[in-house]
């Protein structure tokens, strides 16, 4: 329990640091953000009102404390562009992002796990080499190119899948699955290729360990050795990379979202940056950082479950 509390405490400290960075963002950008956001629609009265509303006319420390205070209560300000609350905008994008990230992770695991383990068990054989080459290609392929190829194949040529759009999972699960398939495969193949290589080397390392040799020499069946002694121990380093991949996908994947017109956080940030809508950019960065920390926290807690020694050593 103390371990859990300590880890949660760490995460909160980091999150506090993130709020400082997010807050500083507006002040580090050269020029006056309100003036820039208004662009050619400049009007002195509107300008003064916006500046006051965003609190930019007050002392820096006071602004930060006020920002932190309202952020804690879920108030992240209002968008410069539409006047809508940033929290509302972020929440409207979250389901699309989370469902795509989870689907992408599932694809990645389905690809990476069998391939990684298989490749490690056939270490040095032709099949291992093939898996390694394929995963190297998977890591190297640009995601927009992969996305285009999928659209050309499954939408334009075969006509099986719709090339774009999003339907909430809660509204129509079948239609959701049809529409999430290509973006999830695009994400999953890239992430899966990276994970395959990690799983392979991790399993290889454990295969050479003393306890595995002992288990084998005890006459345990191969499946038991593999399941209980190899894979479980190989999981620890793999968990890290799985966590990082999931957190990255949760942060929004701009290219994939743009190509498939997926209404996630990535496109929101892209549009907001282009329009210099700082409250939205700030809110999104904060949300993404919080999700990243949450995923890492969960990964750390899982470590402790997989390998009880971790609890003691920290």
């Amino acid at each position: 329990m103390a371990f859990v509390l300590r880890r949660v405490g760490h995460s909160l400290v980091v999150l506090l640091g993130v709020t400082v960075v997010v807050f500083a963002l507006v002040h580090l950008v050269p020029g006056d953000p309100v003036r820039i956001a208004m662009g050619t629609r400049y009007d002195p009265d509107v300008y003064a009102a916006l500046r006051e509303a965003s609190g930019l006319d007050r002392p820096l420390l006071e602004q930060y404390v006020a920002y932190l205070g309202s952020a804690l209560t879920g108030d992240l300000g209002v968008s410069f562009r539409s006047g809508e609350p940033v929290t509302t905008i972020l929440l409207s994008r979250l389901p699309a992002t989370v469902s795509l990230a989870v689907a992408g992770l599932v694809v990645a695991l389905v690809v990476a796990f069998p391939l990684g383990v298989y490749s490690a068990l056939h270490h040095g054989k032709a099949s291992d080499v093939i898996v390694r080459i394929v995963s190297q290609v998977g890591v190297s392929v640009p995601d927009f190119w992969m996305a285009m190829l999928l659209i050309l194949l499954f939408s334009s040529t075969l006509g099986w899948l719709p090339p774009s759009g999003y339907v909430p999972l809660t509204e129509d699960p079948v239609e959701w699955a049809r529409r999430v398939a290509m973006p999830a495969v695009t994400l999953g193949l890239v992430a899966g290729s990276i994970m395959t290589r990690y799983i392979r080397s991790s399993v290889l390392e454990v295969l050479g360990a003393d306890h595995v040799r002992t288990a084998e020499s005890k006459g345990l069946r191969e499946r038991v050795v593999l399941g209980r002694h190899v894979v479980r121990n190989a999981l620890v380093p793999v968990l890290t990379i799985v966590g990082v991949q999931l957190a990255t996908m949760l942060g929004g994947v701009i290219v994939v979202e743009v190509v498939f017109a997926w209404p996630g956080l990535g496109r929101l940030v892209l549009d907001a940056v282009a329009a210099r809508d700082y409250p939205v950019v700030q809110g999104a960065v904060l949300l993404v950082a919080a999700m990243f920390l949450l995923v890492n926290l969960v990964v750390d807690l899982l470590y402790a479950r997989v390998d009880p020694r971790i609890k003691v050593s920290r």
């Binding site: 662009g39 050619t40 905008i89």
Partner: protein, 517 residues
């Protein structure tokens, strides 16, 4: 005094007046149905038309937005007093008729009596007065269009009187040219809801908005022009053209303007879709900073005009989806002036530079990746000017910084476009009059000033035409702007879509469209 607000490419894109929009092509054997399939009426098959646009509106207040994506949607939600038909001639809309006093200073508009807002309340003259006052008093983006307007008042429920300080032949274009001057509802504005839940008088009303995804409109059955044939229109935001075209082929969407210029040729051959390529009134140009020597010397500017190959620039940037032009107004317009002085002539350019005593010239050319055509063109221009011994240093900035630099005069040469021009006054006054608000290049020619002032108040069409022909020629001779081309509007749609007309003013209208499937 009202300031004329900068309208740069993409910031406010809008309408054009001129006769004869040019239909360059449509798919073989498919003919564009210009007239719609019939008069308004709700007896049609209906259905929801799905249109893909390349981005998301920033907000839905037509008078405040400057985003073309907003105008694409709002074209169907709001009305203006008068509106351009497909030949870009002003026709009655919310106003059924108008009269001009003998001194040309008082315009009296009679409004239709069968107009209702989407929320069911009645529309009247006070709404018009409120809308125009808002634009003028709050100095919104289109307030410059009301520069000559002295007063707007309602004499009764159906009569609006606009008085102007001097005869204003372009008033109809000013109040009808685009949806930035649409009539809005006071209650909707004051509640602040107009930015996300606008209430208009147009043929469709907003029913749902999913951020990042789509805006859904449903038919406004009580529309004064008759109920639309469609049950509704959904605008989906699809940023990637390849995806939009795949979605069109898959039947997921019915219409898109997200067409990469390099694919227009092959799409023209595709008989499974309809495609239109229509001349627009937008223009792209080069300007040199006349405050910086040697660009104050007209011979240096002319040398550049002779040294560049407009055909090559147009091909590189637009893959031929544009018409080369040496003045601003396109050949499709009634205000077009024939002018072709500057055909590519490097010998002539070199002579002019020698006469001006210029050698070893290095030009700072400012471009912005927000308008990628400027970056592409800059590379072509760099190699072309090298032929006459001018070195070009390309400086690529983000558009915000670009605008700042332009305003502060920190540049030698720049390339950009002007969109949404209606009247010849729009094409020339702001950019080339000594006191023009957008005369960043510092051009000043008293003769041109006199012509542009006269053009503003000349009510005889023929005389006005001659004034602008003379002004255009002088401006081009002086190379105040070095004009490049007028781009085309390219849109494509499913053959199921009946009655859609691609327009040179980029207005996307679905009121008279129906679906046949």
């Amino acid at each position: 005094m009202t300031t004329r607000t900068t309208r740069r490419a993409g910031l406010a894109v809008v309408a054009t007046v001129a006769t004869a929009a040019l239909f360059a092509a449509c798919s073989p054997g498919e003919g564009v149905d210009v007239d719609g399939s019939g008069e308004g009426g709700s007896g049609d098959a209906g259905g929801i038309l799905v249109a893909a646009i390349a981005g998301e509106p920033d907000q839905l207040d037509p008078q405040s937005t400057s985003s073309y994506f907003s105008f694409q949607v709002l074209e169907n939600v709001f009305d203006t007093l008068v509106a351009p038909d497909e030949n870009l001639v002003m026709q009655p809309a919310l106003a059924e008729s108008w009269e001009i006093s003998d001194d040309q200073l008082t315009w009296t508009f009679t409004l239709r009596d069968d107009v209702t807002w989407h929320d069911g309340t009645a529309f009247d003259a006070d709404d018009v007065v409120y809308s125009y006052r808002r634009i003028m008093d709050e100095e919104l983006a289109s307030s410059w269009r009301f520069a000559a307007v002295e007063d707007v008042s309602a004499t009764d429920e159906r009569t609006v009187v606009i008085t102007v300080t001097n005869p204003s032949p372009n008033l109809l274009a000013s109040i009808g040219g685009y949806k930035g001057v649409a009539i809005v509802q006071q209650e909707n504005v004051e509640s602040g809801e107009i930015t996300t839940q606008p209430v208009g008088t147009g043929p469709f009303e907003l029913s749902a908005y999913s951020s990042g995804e789509r805006i859904e409109l449903v038919a406004h059955e009580e529309h004064w022009g008759g109920a639309p044939h469609l049950d509704g229109v959904t605008f989906q935001f699809i940023p990637e053209p390849t995806t939009a075209l795949a979605a069109l082929a898959a039947g997921e969407i019915d219409w898109t303007d997200s067409v990469p210029p390099q694919q227009v040729g092959s799409l023209m051959e595709d008989s499974s879709i309809d495609i239109a390529q229509v001349g627009s009134n937008d223009y792209w140009y080069l300007a040199t900073n006349q405050a910086n020597p040697p660009f104050d010397d007209v011979r240096v500017r002319q040398a550049i005009a002779y040294a560049i190959d407009r055909d090559a620039i147009t091909e590189a940037t637009m893959y031929g989806n544009a018409t080369v032009n040496q003045t601003a107004i396109p050949v499709s317009s009634a205000w077009y002036t024939e002018y072709d002085t500057y055909s590519l002539d490097t010998a002539r350019a070199s002579d002019l530079l020698d006469e001006a005593g210029v050698d070893d010239l290095t030009i700072d050319l400012m471009v912005t990746a927000d308008y990628p055509e400027t970056v592409t063109a800059a590379q072509v221009i760099e190699s072309q000017l090298a032929e006459v011994g001018i070195a070009v240093e390309i400086r690529s900035l983000d558009f915000g910084t670009w605008l700042d630099e332009q305003g502060q005069g920190n540049w030698d040469m720049l390339m950009l476009g002007w969109l949404g021009n209606i009247d010849p006054d729009d094409f020339y006054y702001g950019q080339h009059h000594t006191d023009g608000p957008n005369n960043y290049q510092g051009y000043s020619n008293p003769e041109v000033d006199d012509l542009l002032d006269a053009g503003r108040t000349e009510t005889d069409e023929q005389a006005r035409q001659e004034i602008y022909a003379e002004a255009a020629t002088q401006i081009a001779d002086d190379a105040s702007y070095i004009y490049l081309y007028n781009p085309a509007v390219v849109q494509t749609w499913s053959p199921d879509v009946v009655g859609y007309v691609a327009r040179g003013d980029r207005a996307i209208r679905f009121a008279d469209v129906s679906l046949d499937r």
